[in-house]
């Protein structure tokens, strides 16, 4: 169980950043995963008063606020038209509607969780993150950055030059964490293969020419946990990459 001494609904990003420099304080996204911790925090920093709950679009990017919920991502027409419903497919199996109404995109991305469907998709879309602190950083780079930084994630920027993207995941049972998650995108830089829930956090491999499913499997490391073995994950990965390639 978690406890807080104080709660602050930040009135500016500067205030949120300032408060977040104290190690005992924490930014509350949807609080779905945070509340599973066993920890006493000083101040809970809430970004919900900063208007970060919208998906905006300009010529270059979809700009997704950190407090946009997974359900908003699932239902957003323009973003789903752009991703050919990959956005919807990446979140629709996550727990239930009420959960997705509360869980935030910012929380999913900031956590860089091993099980994250959202991270897997956004990597294939070659997204960038906008941080108070480090500025605008490629998401792929962000996943490798220290988990101990005290930056504030403001938005996720999705460039609009992806030609096509497909998202597929395998679950032992509907609404559970994925056993394996795959997103494949056709982009001006080539084919992007993002594989998550290996069970480590998602990573990406890009190639000028389409890779065979076997080549993709060999480009990633896989592990075992209670949901599936390493060998099983490799097999599932091969099948999902092959299917995604056919669907692209």
């Amino acid at each position: 169980m978690i406890t807080f001494k104080n709660y602050v609904r930040a009135e500016s990003l500067e205030e949120a950043y300032e408060l977040n420099q104290k190690k005992n304080n924490v930014i509350v996204g949807g609080m779905m995963w945070l509340k599973m911790m066993d920890k006493n925090f000083g101040t809970a920093i809430d970004l919900s008063g900063l208007g970060l709950d919208t998906i905006e679009e300009d010529d270059e990017y979809f700009r997704i606020g950190a407090m946009v919920t997974l359900r908003q991502l699932e239902l957003h027409e323009a973003f789903n038209a752009y991703t050919k419903c990959a956005a919807k497919h990446s979140v629709e199996h996550i727990v239930g509607v009420q959960f997705r109404n509360t869980a935030t995109v910012g929380g999913s991305i900031y956590g860089r969780f091993g099980f994250s469907d959202v991270l897997t998709l956004f990597l294939a879309l070659r997204a960038k993150v906008e941080l108070v602190g480090a500025g605008i950083v490629d998401l792929a780079e962000f996943t490798e950055m220290s988990r101990k930084d005290r930056d504030v994630l403001v938005r996720i920027l999705v460039p609009k030059d992806t030609e096509s993207v497909v998202y597929l995941s395998q679950r032992n049972i509907s609404t559970d964490f994925p056993v394996l998650a795959v997103a494949v995108a056709k982009t001006p830089e080539g084919c992007c293969y993002s594989v998550g829930a290996r069970p480590h956090y998602a990573k990406i491999v890009t190639s000028k020419e389409p890779m065979s499913a076997e080549e993709v499997v060999n480009a990633f490391s896989f592990g075992s946990n209670t949901r599936a073995s390493r060998e099983y994950r490799k097999k599932v990965c091969e099948v999902l990459v092959k299917r995604a390639g056919e669907m692209l």
């Binding site: 001494k5 509607v97 959960f99």
Partner: protein, 155 residues
């Protein structure tokens, strides 16, 4: 800290601890329909509507609900009564512990999508767990209600 929440249509001003969860707030106000089933944001029993949107009250800080409108089953009995009889007629539930959360999310479903298909019903209600049943009775009940509303027979 002080919060103002409109709970079931009534504006309340209360002094709360910073880390109080919304579920504990509404229960402290007598809304005992809101149940704590799992503690892991999974079961849907604690579902309330926040500004009309169904959320898990076990995972929302009462402080975040400050300035918002919260509805629990206690405030939506008229809307629930339209269809709960159809679910009861199917003998769907045994212990009934999951019922309030299930009813709240069904209200949200029917507001958003008044005439859902079976697939849409299942997708919307998948986050409401029931350990007694196999969900078939609930599905039959909602189907019977929709049929009745379309002007068909109430079996």
């Amino acid at each position: 800290m002080e919060i103002k929440i409109t709970l079931n249509g009534k504006l309340l001003t209360r002094e709360i601890e910073a880390d109080m969860l919304l579920i504990d707030f509404v229960r402290s106000e007598g809304c005992y329909s809101v149940k704590r089933g799992c503690e892991t944001s999974n079961c849907g029993l604690c579902t309330v509507l926040m500004d009309g949107t169904p959320v898990l009250s076990c995972s929302v800080l009462a402080a975040r609900a400050n300035g918002h409108k919260i509805d629990t089953l206690e405030g939506l009995t008229a809307e629930a009564e339209e269809f709960v009889g159809f679910i009861a007629d199917q003998g769907a539930e045994q212990c009934g512990f999951c019922n309030p959360g299930f009813v709240m999310n069904t209200i949200a479903l029917l507001r958003e999508n008044p005439d859902p298909t079976d697939e849409e019903i299942k997708k919307f209600l998948v986050g409401n767990l029931c350990r007694c049943s196999g969900y078939e009775g609930q599905l039959r009940g909602i189907r019977a209600f929709l049929e009745y509303r379309r002007g068909g027979n109430h079996e």
